[in-house]
């Protein structure tokens, strides 16, 4: 029938159109002009790269001289996640700072229990930002929730003078300046921006690896305008991070019908009401992925999402659910592509779902790698070395 509507592939979306009237960056500069705070700027030293966000506005992502705002869940339970973020920086030659003078964003607790208030949350955020400013490095946020929460804090500070005044009083007592970075940057945005450099150094063939992507709610739903969108991916209709890396590394990007669903982390639920997280992750995400895409791995870019998707699958076996998809962070996936050691660097032994079949598909000899790990473990057990260093990897 000639009059059938154009197929979706032939429809062209032109993303010009109304932008939200308020722009946080302009508003931050306005507050700075009034003397209310200092905007920590991106300069040439950071080698910033420009990308587009949801409504076509631009955002700049620093490549180097970044202050790594670490994630509690990553550092605590998924150390390979943090490690690979640092490893990628080291391999690509980008200088960074890994500070001890950093607190958690405390947002996991805030969303779990609300045992806090906007002033405390903003003060924690701004203390970290002031520290980065004083240390001379630009903040790069590891966790999706920290990122979303800091975007929320930014919006609250911009709109409420009362809050700004409260936080200023707190910071004055700490002897810290009131600073806010020009952009709140998530590490997956950095990975997105350097994906071609990662692909250049790729030594493992991922052509036979099928990947499903799970985007973190707090990355793209909280303050939705500030997230990376690219017209070459999903026609600019879904956030481009993580998926762009899968493409760049030559793996097969597979879609599934619950792509937009939350993972079920719940903040409080994952710790003390796990039946919800477990049920949601298994039934709404993992089973759907398995049935519709049968992936070799699912990738995500947030601490909570890795935790929920990875840890929910074990108990589900008792209910004969279709599960068994390894869960990795985009940084771990990229690191493996570049030949990183699966256990010394990617720390895959901390993960729940068996990822050895995946490693085999990637052409990685995991038995040999584990033997190497055990040799290194002996060095530590015997007291030969106190800690394993980057050089040992």
């Amino acid at each position: 029938m000639k009059q059938l509507p154009l197929k979706a592939k032939e429809r062209v979306f032109d993303r010009k159109g109304k932008m939200p009237s308020e722009h946080y960056r302009e508003q931050l500069f306005e507050l700075e002009a009034k003397g209310e705070l200092i905007v920590h700027r991106l300069t040439d030293e950071h080698k910033p790269v420009e990308i587009e966000t949801k409504f076509g506005r631009t955002k700049r992502i620093p490549l180097q001289n970044t202050w790594h705002h670490k994630s509690c869940g990553q550092c605590g339970h998924i150390p390979g996640y943090s490690t690979t973020i640092f490893w990628l920086h080291r391999e690509l030659g980008y200088a960074y700072c890994d500070p001890k003078e950093q607190t958690s964003c405390t947002a996991w607790n805030y969303y779990a229990s609300s045992t806090s208030n906007p002033a405390a949350q903003a003060a924690v955020a701004l203390r970290n930002f002031a520290q980065a400013y004083e240390d001379g490095f630009f903040p790069l946020i590891h966790c999706g929730t920290s990122y979303g929460h800091y975007k929320e804090v930014r919006e609250q500070l911009i709109h409420h003078k009362e809050l700004r005044d409260q936080v200023r009083r707190v910071l004055d007592k700490l002897g810290k300046p009131m600073v806010f970075p020009e952009e709140v940057v998530h590490y997956s945005e950095w990975v997105h921006v350097v994906r071609d450099q990662i692909a250049e150094r790729q030594v493992k063939n991922f052509e036979n690896v099928t990947v499903t992507v799970h985007p973190a709610c707090h990355y793209h739903k909280l303050i939705a305008e500030d997230a990376i969108y690219d017209s070459e991916l999903y026609d600019g209709q879904r956030t481009a991070v993580v998926s762009s890396v899968v493409r760049a590394l030559g793996a097969k990007l597979a879609d599934y019908s619950t792509w937009h669903d939350c993972c079920g982390f719940g903040f409080r639920h994952i710790l003390v009401s796990r039946d919800f997280s477990r049920s949601f992750a298994t039934i709404r995400k993992i089973e759907r992925m398995k049935e519709e895409a049968d992936p070799d791995v699912t990738l995500t870019h947030d601490t909570g999402c890795v935790t929920t998707l990875d840890k929910s699958q074990f108990a589900a076996q008792a209910h004969d659910r279709k599960i068994g998809i390894p869960v990795l962070a985009d940084s771990q996936f990229a690191a493996l592509a570049m030949g990183a050691h699966p256990y010394m660097v990617c720390q895959l032994h901390w993960h729940g779902v068996d990822n050895r079949p995946l490693l085999e598909k990637m052409g990685i000899d995991h038995e040999k790698a584990w033997a190497e790990f055990e040799v290194q473990a002996e060095r530590v057990k015997s007291g030969e070395v106190e800690f394993i260093s980057w050089e040992d990897c």
């Binding site: 029938m1 009059q3 059938l4 509507p5 197929k7 979306f13 993303r15 109304k18 939705a224 519709e292």
Partner: protein
Amino acid sequence: MSDQPVLVVGGGPAGLEAARSVADLGEKVILVEKADVLGGNPILASYAALTPDMENAEEAMQRMIDALAGDDLVTIRTGSTVVGAEGSAPDLKVKIAGAAGEETLDVSTAIICTGFQHFDPGRETQMYGYYEYDDVITLVDAERMLKAGGFKRPSTGEDPKRVCFIQCVGSRDRQIGNQWCSKVCCGIACKEAIEIRDFLPDCKVFVFYIDMRMYGFWEDQIYWKAQEEKKVNFIRGIVTEITKRGDTVVVKGEDTTMGRPVEVPMDVVVLSVGMEPSEGTLEMAKIFDLPLESHGFIETVGGPLNTVCTAREGIFAAGAAVGPADLEDSISMAGAAAMKAVGYLRRLART
């Protein structure tokens, strides 16, 4: 009779009505239309039947076009746009660009009838997948199919068994920035639902809505008719996501009367896209220095008691250029604008 013609910008329903009315009142009129044909959205977007009487859109527009033919008082320039304007009524100088190049005309007054454009679903806050899934289409795509004499499932070319409409796409939304109701989409969706049920008696049709805006006689002429005669199902609750499972698209929404989230497969999803001020409307506002009201349409002064006068004397606007309007609004405003334009000139002549 004034020496200079009244300028009517836009040859859709409002423009056609305005031009003919001005001529009926004995004044010269020049009608400038961007497209190569007259008729506006009903013709350019291939509307099938008009709401609510199901009259053939093409035939109705042709009647209006024919009424202008052969009238000495009427000059028509298709394939032309107004690119500049100087001076003020009753001595306006406008520059018109067309196939034959640019010409400058002296006109007495102007009536802006440049109408609306349909909302692009790619800018929707919800995840509708218009650029991902063949089977997600808009009201306009549906009209085109209906005009061609049928309704098919785009991905397979076969008759669909389950079709749904999603209302308020691109309207009533603070995040998109289109905070208005587009007025006609509920009526059009019901009309299309009736047409689809007539073509496909075995096809189930659903309408997902927030409120059914069925003004005046539309209530029983199309809403009750759709529901009672044609067994169209109305579900109170809008859809937030459309995804695909296998070959079928699945819509995810809440059935608010049951208070439950629902996920249902559909063969075809029709997005009831709303109206936005057209590019032509925004251009004319700039060229004629007309203020826009808070939603971005051309501002008329005088509220409900004066629907066609802009802030500039002697310049009028009619139809969807001033806000969401159905066909009756557009035709009525066009007549009012013509009367006001000619009345303005006659009053000047008396003083």
